[in-house]
């Protein structure tokens, strides 16, 4: 970020929620005169530090970015050489692909899903993709992209985003100015981008503009997700998401495609790109899971691994719980009664549980879901509730992985209080006790549990070095840890718990400690990469796809934007970063410009033939609850590929009843559901009360004065909170009509020092078509002054 010339901050508020990132942006500003652009539904702390604030109605990111994409192409403001060599712009798409009135080809209305086999590239008889390097063929990606986004002209865009024309043009001119090879621009986003029914496509739209401008893989560039928790990167790396195994391997499911190891390998291994190694990573993972019980005869224990039968995302689980299908639950540092969408329904669903275990630092709202204080009737709830007190971050040791994929070791500062135990202790003892329960049993249920390898020492606490060795992976013959995932095998001779982290604990014999996440050399090794500080996966590379920082011949695009470059005398890539590329692959040889090594064909996707469930290009659709009924881009209002939940307690609100757009967000002073901060008095006194932010215009229309109590109501429920009347909110002009938007923090609940009503009572059960992330950030409501 320090090396950027322009930061477009959209769907995030780093000044409030990622303050350290603002430190780097301030340096970019001081040292390079970088511009900061803040695009957001409301004027935030970040806006206060930006060169320009542009208003955007919540849920219209794709319209806004589509406008930028169109502006860049129409005005020739794209990095042509980068686009030609590093993206799939030249690839020809088959005639099956079509887009008409908001719907891509291959749509099944009954299923609300697409068959993406109609989106593929043209190939020759040998399967090679056909290209038009001149980018002029009407079926090439570039021309299809141009055509798709030609509909996103400025006037249509701003008619629904509510942005002023002047502001939109200034953002477009400034940001698209980074198409100059001497410049780079970065996009920083957070949950304001992702928590929508088209959240994944929102991010895709950012990726497309960044690829057009040549801003990926270069210092000061990138599409930067600002992680909302110190270890959310680590959590996803280690398969916190239901559809993945560690290292982003697809979790086996009950489909025919995954019926056995061979079928899985065939289905999940692309030809070309680094994912060709999928079998090596998977078999090594199975060896880590099942040890000696994983043999070539039993498919390395593949059948032991549970096969998913359905979608297990957050909303799906609570819907199933509401319907009585789920009988027990652990929440581990999670507080769905505050943080879950449609939280009243989720709290009600918990009443169907036979047992419930809350692992947390405090008695959270979720742990107390059955109490009178929570509004429940304890006499009608049979759930047995267990609470396991967990350690705070400073009472345990281990690693966290940050947004830059740095795995950093943290040491224990103080002893835990009373009965509190670390997460590692809890999971270690659970595993050992469950294994003991199944000892000696002889049945198919017991077998996978008995087969599970759990060798983390004999102590009450697991040995962290043994866990680290398992993650890094080791050679089963020598016992030495591997130096890289490149040596992992699919023959059962290597074990590896998470291939992307291979190399952080390199070449260590049994008992030998070599944990690179503990490194603390703070000398800048060039371009602020600090290669000897901690460890960044993969292989300590700090900027992914950094081959793209150099031109096709291997020279840096700009002298002050150097990352790696080709040194012909050494026949090697050298520079300030670890090459994210074959170190000796000559730029002039075959594959020498395939900068995007994880992609099957080595090029970044302007057009996503197989990555998305809801279309190869982003397309604007309205939120599930929208203030307008006539989407100017097509006749389709809602993303046609989202699953609609139509069960009880999840009504959809209409604009006639609920005319005001609402969104929610975090404050600097509170963290997530507030269980850590609302129990801390110094932080609580800074933000003691739940509030609703609104414009002076809306307050006047509704007869609301500063500090009044107001009631906000959606189709799911209502809450009461203080009014915050502010100039930082302004009504939007959408299709010529005034649309009001309110905003609120989602941190509050009924437990702790600072309490307040729960914002998520208002939000619906509806999620993104790809990830099922809930649409927290755009819904409809009404607001009125509370009766005093």
């Amino acid at each position: 970020m320090k090396h950027t010339d322009c930061a477009l901050i959209i769907g995030g508020n780093p000044a409030a929620n990622h303050p350290i990132s603002m430190r780097h942006l301030q340096k970019a500003r001081d040292e390079r005169g970088a511009k900061l652009l803040s695009v957001d539904p409301r004027y935030t702390h970040t806006s206060s530090k930006s060169d320009l604030y542009a208003q955007l109605r919540s849920g219209t990111d794709i319209a806004f970015m589509g406008g930028l994409i169109n502006y860049a192409i129409e005005n020739g403001l794209y990095h042509e050489e980068y686009v030609k060599h590093y993206t799939n712009a030249s690839f020809l798409v088959t005639d099956d692909y079509a887009f008409d009135e908001g719907i891509f080809s291959g749509y099944d209305e009954g299923d609300r899903s697409y068959d993406n086999s109609q989106w593929v590239f043209q190939t020759d008889d040998e399967g090679n993709i056909l290209k038009d390097e001149s980018l002029s063929d009407p079926r090439c990606v570039f021309q299809l992209l141009k055509k798709h986004f030609s509909r996103y002209d400025i006037d249509t865009v701003i008619s629904i985003t509510g942005t002023s024309k002047e502001d939109f043009i200034e953002v477009a001119e400034t940001f698209c100015g980074t198409a100059d090879p001497n410049k780079t621009g970065t996009i920083m986003y957070a949950m304001g981008t992702t928590q929508h029914t088209k959240g994944s496509q929102n991010v895709r739209s950012y990726a497309i503009i960044q690829l057009l401008l040549g801003n990926v893989g270069r210092p000061g560039g990138g599409v930067n997700a600002m992680r909302g928790e110190c270890n959310v990167q680590g959590s996803t790396d280690f398969a916190l998401l239901f559809h993945l195994m560690p290292g982003y391997l697809s979790a086996p499911n009950a489909s025919e495609n995954h019926r056995n190891l061979e079928a899985y390998k065939a289905a999940e291994t692309p030809s070309g790109g680094y994912w060709e190694n999928t079998p090596n990573f998977l078999v090594s993972l199975l060896k880590a899971y099942y040890g000696d019980k994983a043999t070539s005869e039993n498919d390395f224990g593949y059948d032991y691994f549970p096969k998913g039968r359905r979608n297990y995302s957050h909303i799906s689980l609570f819907e199933a719980m509401f319907d009585g299908e789920i009988k027990g639950m652990f929440t581990w540092g999670q507080n769905p009664v505050v943080g879950g969408p449609n939280s009243r329904k989720e709290k009600k669903a918990m009443e169907n549980l036979d047992w419930f275990v809350s692992i947390d630092l405090w008695e959270t709202e979720t742990a107390a879901f059955w109490t009178e204080q929570s509004g429940a009737d304890p006499t009608n709830i049979d759930t047995e509730v267990f609470m396991l007190p967990a350690c705070g971050p400073y009472e345990k040791e281990g690693t966290v992985s940050n947004s830059g994929r740095w795995m950093q070791y943290r040491y224990q500062a103080i002893e835990p209080k009373n009965d509190a135990r670390s997460d590692a202790w809890i999971v270690h003892n659970l595993a050992n006790r469950i294994k003991k329960l199944y000892e000696g049993e002889n049945n198919p249920v017991a077998e996978p549990i008995q087969a599970l390898s759990w060798d983390f020492g004999q102590g009450d606490y697991p040995e962290i070095d043994l866990i680290a060795r398992e993650i890094n992976g080791y050679d089963l013959k020598t016992g030495r840890t591997v130096e890289s995932f490149a040596v992992l095998k699919d023959d059962g001779s290597t074990s590896c718990g998470n291939w992307i982290y291979s190399g952080f604990y390199p070449d260590a014999g049994p008992g030998e400690e070599k944990n690179l996440s503990k490194r603390r050399d703070d000398e800048d090794t060039g371009m602020d990469n600090y290669l000897n500080w901690s460890y960044a996966w993969p292989l300590n590379r700090r900027v992914l796809y950094n081959r793209a920082s150099a031109d096709p011949q291997g020279n840096p695009w700009a002298s002050d934007k150097e990352a790696i470059w080709w040194d012909a005398s050494q026949s090697s890539w050298v520079g300030h970063d670890v090459p994210d590329f074959g170190a000796d692959v000559d730029p002039n040889s075959e594959g020498g410009t395939d900068a995007f090594i994880m992609r099957g064909y080595g090029k970044a996707s302007l057009y996503s033939a197989d990555g998305m469930t809801d279309g190869p290009f982003p397309e604007h659709y309205e939120p599930y609850e929208s203030p307008i009924s006539d989407n100017p881009f097509s006749k389709v209002d809602l993303n046609p590929a989202v699953k609609i939940w139509d069960g009880k307690m999840n009504d959809r609100g209409s604009v006639s009843e609920y005319p005001i757009v609402a969104t929610n967000y975090r404050l600097t002073e509170h963290w997530q559901s507030g269980s850590m901060t609302r129990n801390q008095e110094w932080v609580s006194e800074l933000m003691p009360y739940m509030f609703i932010e609104m414009s002076e215009e809306l307050a006047e229309e509704k007869g609301i004065s500063e500090r009044d109590k107001v009631v906000v109501e959606s189709a799911r429920g209502s809450i009461e909170a203080y009014a915050m009347v502010t100039k930082r909110f302004k009504p939007f002009k959408v299709k010529g009509k005034k649309v009001h938007q309110i905003g609120m923090p989602w941190h509050y609940g009924y437990q702790g020092i600072a309490t307040g009503e729960i914002a998520n009572v208002l939000t619906p059960h509806i999620g993104d078509a790809n990830t099922m992330i809930p649409e927290y950030k755009a819904f409809l409501c009404d607001v009125r002054r509370a009766n005093s």
């Binding site: 000044a15 303050p19 603002m22 206060s48 110094w682 006194e685 500063e706």
Partner: protein, 277 residues
């Protein structure tokens, strides 16, 4: 002799308020939860229990622009401090790192400093004496003199992620302020340094984004004339003539007559009725 200063560049502050929590944490100050303010700002101003407050203001500029202004507000540590002049007990002194210190054991809680602070900073708050009694004593930011003695930075400085608050030798801080001002002017045409000469300059001084009056600050605060007369002329003379004990008795009487609250606010500070952010 080397002197030191704390520079607060509000133009790069992001309003995160880590300075407020760090201060309470290091100094182990009690909470003082306020009624709902109507905005993000938590406390109106610094108090005896809350030694720094991040003040926020929604400001519409003359040309129709909008700013959300922040200001870390705490003791100014005036070079020529009114509080030091009026203290009848000699409990207020100048520390070696630029701080204005109040000796809690020597303070008798008379409030003269409270009434005479040109910036309305110092206040009485509970203090547990060496004998274990709870007494009302004048309290405020100490500039973390205890940390400075150990070679550390003040806790607000240490925690500020944007280096909006910095501490160092005064000459360097003055130079840095000029550099920061040049940069700030690109975004804030009215930006200026606030280091009022009427109180001899302050050891906590600002780069402001706009005129002092926008922040509700006095344009040119001064040490009240009565305080100067008392401290620099009447008190030394009186002590010489009457002896220290007798002077102490008189002190209470005379200072009560001389000083009354309010006389120090009329030096250009606008009364600001607009709400804070």
């Amino acid at each position: 002799m080397t002197t030191y200063s704390k520079l607060v560049d509000v133009t790069v502050c992001t309003g995160c308020r880590a300075c407020m929590v760090a201060c309470k944490n290091w100094n182990d100050l009690p909470v003082e939860t306020q009624a709902y303010s109507g905005g993000y700002q938590s406390h109106e101003k610094p108090t005896g229990k809350t030694w720094n407050v991040l003040q926020m203001k929604e400001h519409e500029t003359a040309n129709g622009g909008f700013e959300w202004l922040y200001r870390h507000s705490a003791c100014y540590h005036c070079a020529d401090a009114a509080c030091e002049k009026v203290c009848p007990e000699g409990a207020i002194t100048y520390g070696e790192f630029g701080s204005v210190d109040i000796d809690q054991e020597a303070c008798v809680g008379c409030s003269y400093c409270v009434y005479n602070c040109p910036f309305d900073i110092v206040e009485l708050a509970d203090y547990v004496t060496e004998d274990g009694d709870v007494r009302q004593r004048a309290q405020k930011c100490t500039l973390c003199e205890d940390r400075l003695q150990e070679g550390l930075q003040p806790s607000c400085v240490d925690t500020c992620p944007l280096d909006a608050i910095v501490f160092g030798e005064r000459e360097e801080m003055l130079k840095l302020a000029e550099e920061r001002l040049e940069k700030a002017k690109q975004f804030f045409p009215n930006a200026q340094i606030y280091n009022p000469p009427g109180v001899g300059g302050t050891k906590m001084f600002y780069v402001l984004a706009d005129k002092p009056s926008v922040y509700g600050l006095p344009e040119n605060p001064e040490v009240p004339t009565s305080a100067v007369l008392w401290k620099d002329i009447a008190q030394p003379a009186g002590k010489a003539l009457l002896g220290v004990t007798m002077m102490g008795v008189l002190t209470g009487y005379v200072t009560n007559k001389l000083f009354n609250k309010g006389e120090h606010h009329e030096e250009g500070g606008e009364v600001d009725e607009s709400k804070h952010g």
